[in-house]
């Protein structure tokens, strides 16, 4: 019997990097490589400005808000969905939490408002998708258009300056020399990693995205899980909104413009697959940092935007190719 058993067991017929278990790791290795490459370029092209701690922290700060959103997005995509409304939800939360009325409640009140607004809107997405059976793309697209409109209406097309000191100073404050915003980003990433890899919520997310029917047959409440995922994404938007507001010392319906694209791109370049069921938090983190670093490099070398874009396109392609490269491809076509 047992020998038969072993016969059915897969042979170790492939070298370690082909083994799927290690694949996320490999992908991240690839992205880290890309990041290293960018750093080298930075050191060469802008030796005296790039490596300064000031600049590095600046990069991370720029990455923080979009990073928080990307983490939420990662969960949604792994769960087999997509959320186009993140940018708009950021704007909506930002505007809502900076209305004169809200500012009356001080920093805490603003944070609370931002989180609630984001979460509620996210939940609406989730309900439309899970119970209204709308395609995620359409449901969140509708939310994107609608929320942006609502934000414009609330702000009455004006930028709303913040008078709450605690918020205005948030972007400047540091803890042990590290900007608070960066710390928040780090915290969210850590929590995200734990939730995805160590909790039933995380595992069920993977199950729902990987094979919804199997998840259903295994007794998982797929719809509930879906709603929770979009609510989570909304929550991240709320938090990000406050971070954006803190940086801008103002709330405006134009904030968070095209964040959806950046967040999705970061997640996907980080190895999360749009078909769902697979992805890593660390990958998305790296993805965001890579994109921010690219932009920073351009500014340091102050290239004109049009050139920036051309080069950026090339870099993205290059990055992914590097990251995909596997020695085995040299001699094995499948």
């Amino acid at each position: 019997m047992t020998d038969l058993a072993s016969a059915a067991a897969p042979k170790m017929k492939t070298s370690w990097w082909r083994d799927d278990a290690s694949e996320p790791v490999r992908r991240n290795l690839g992205l880290t490589g890309v990041l290293v490459a960018l750093v080298v370029i930075g050191l060469v092209s802008a030796p005296d400005t790039f490596a300064t701690s000031g600049n590095v922290l600046n990069i991370l700060t720029q990455a923080s808000a979009i990073g928080v959103i990307a983490i939420g997005m990662t969960f949604v995509i792994i769960g087999g969905g997509i959320d186009l409304s993140v940018g708009a939800l950021t704007a909506l939360s930002a505007v809502w939490c900076t209305t004169v009325a809200t500012q009356g409640f001080g920093g805490g009140g603003m944070l609370f408002t931002a989180l609630v607004v984001g979460t509620v809107a996210g939940t609406i997405n989730g309900v439309l998708i899970a119970y209204g059976r709308l395609v995620p793309f359409i449901a969140t697209l509708a939310m994107m258009v609608g929320a942006r409109g609502l934000a414009t209406k609330i702000s009455n097309k004006q930028t709303q300056p913040v008078n709450v000191e605690s918020i205005n100073r948030l972007a400047e404050n540091k803890l042990l020399g590290i900007p608070v915003l960066v710390l928040i980003f780090a915290g969210v990433t850590a929590v995200g990693w734990v939730v995805l890899n160590r909790t039933t919520f995380g595992r069920r997310t993977v199950a729902v995205g990987g094979n919804a029917e199997a998840a259903r047959l295994a007794g998982i409440n797929v719809r509930r899980q879906t709603v929770l995922l979009y609510a989570l994404s909304g929550l991240c938007c709320g938090l990000a909104a406050l971070m954006v507001v803190a940086q801008a010392n103002a709330g405006s319906s134009s904030q968070g413009d095209l964040y959806e694209l950046d967040a999705i791109a970061a997640a996907i370049i980080g190895g999360t697959t749009l078909t769902g069921g697979r992805g890593t938090v660390i990958g998305s983190l790296l993805g965001v940092v890579v994109f921010t670093t690219i932009t920073n490099l351009f500014i340091l070398n102050n290239l004109p935007t049009e050139v920036q874009n051309i080069v950026k396109g090339a870099i993205i392609v290059g990055a992914v190719l590097v990251q995909q490269f596997q020695p085995r491809d040299l001699f094995r076509k499948r």
């Binding site: 004006q158 205005n168 954006v244 801008a248 904030q255």
Partner: protein, 319 residues
């Protein structure tokens, strides 16, 4: 291209106050990057102006696609410690903190066009007059219709990006000016400062209003699309006023073969002037013919109305 023409007439005043070249000066410059004629001209004019002064080096950092990106750009710029920073912010309020940071770092900031929400965030504010622009357009249309004796005219407004505060100011000015004639805006649509959007909204607008008396289009760039749509619909019964004052618009006014009868300026040459002011500040000088020893805190350009009659004087400033 357009920036040379823009620069030429602006040279004249420069000579008087500048005198002999002073110590070398680095001026940091940042404006939103957008595929838009006016913004392109802003950058171009600044560069052209800087070329006039041998001792001035202009360090332009493109500000990317939104306030966040521009903030990043400016923070990097501040780290490089130029003598003066000239900045046209995406959104004054959203970049006030950064402006303040620069001032605290001892770098005088010249706030171009879109005002910071905090006085401490800039040394000089030089800007156009959005409200005044609307007023000018309103008065021109009002006068024309009154003299034509049109009662209860149908007036349409084609705004730019609608959630920008500057669009709001322009519309407010337009509305208030018209009301002084007892007129009101009966159709208002908003485009995106792009040709496409201009064409689309206008095509629809012309359907919504089978008969029009006057149209104000906030922006001559999107105006290209607006006029295209008007031609395609074969509409001629109304008069149109443009905004900002692009070269093409002025040529059309001069040719007088389209519905476009006037445009109200919002001149990008202000960036050229900003560079000059930056130089004066760096050298601790005042403006030549003024009594004050230093540059004043605020300068606001007047929005002028360019018509067939005076277009010759302005066409050089068109972008």
């Amino acid at each position: 291209t357009s920036n040379n023409q823009a620069a030429v007439p602006a040279t004249a005043p420069a000579q008087q106050s500048s005198g002999k070249p002073g110590k070398p000066i680095t001026i940091g410059f940042s404006a939103p990057a957008a595929d838009h004629g006016w913004l392109a001209a802003i950058t171009a004019d600044a560069q052209a102006r800087a070329k006039q002064y041998p001792e001035v080096t202009l360090k332009t950092v493109e500000a990317g696609q939104d306030a966040t990106a521009q903030r990043a750009a400016l923070q990097t710029l501040i780290q490089e410690k130029p003598d003066v920073i000239v900045v046209l912010p995406f959104d004054g309020a959203q970049l006030t903190a950064t402006g303040r940071a620069a001032m605290q770092a001892g770098i005088p900031v010249i706030n171009l066009d879109r005002q910071f929400s905090d006085e401490l965030a800039f040394r000089v504010l030089i800007r156009g007059d959005n409200y005044g622009m609307g007023v000018a357009a309103g008065h021109f249309i009002g006068e024309r219709l009154k003299t034509a004796g049109t009662s209860a005219p149908v007036i349409a407004e084609i705004a730019g990006i609608d959630n920008l505060p500057l669009t709001q100011d322009r519309s407010r000015g337009f509305k208030e000016a018209l009301s002084s004639y007892g007129f009101k805006v009966s159709h208002r649509v908003a485009a995106e400062f792009t040709i496409d959007s201009g064409q689309k909204v206008t095509a629809n607008l012309l359907q919504a209003a089978p008969k029009l008396d006057a149209v104000w289009n906030h922006d001559d760039d999107q105006g290209v699309g607006v006029l295209a749509a008007i031609n395609q619909a074969g509409r001629k019964e109304f008069l149109m006023v443009g905004g900002a004052g692009s070269r093409k618009a002025m040529e059309q006014i001069r040719a007088d073969n389209t519905v476009l009868k006037a445009t109200v300026t919002y001149s990008p040459t202000m960036s050229g002037s900003a560079v000059s002011l930056a130089r004066l500040i760096a050298n601790g000088r005042g403006i030549g013919d003024l009594v004050e020893l230093t540059v004043p805190k605020e300068i606001r350009l007047a929005s002028e109305t360019v018509t067939k009659d005076n277009v010759a004087d302005y066409i050089g400033l068109g972008f």
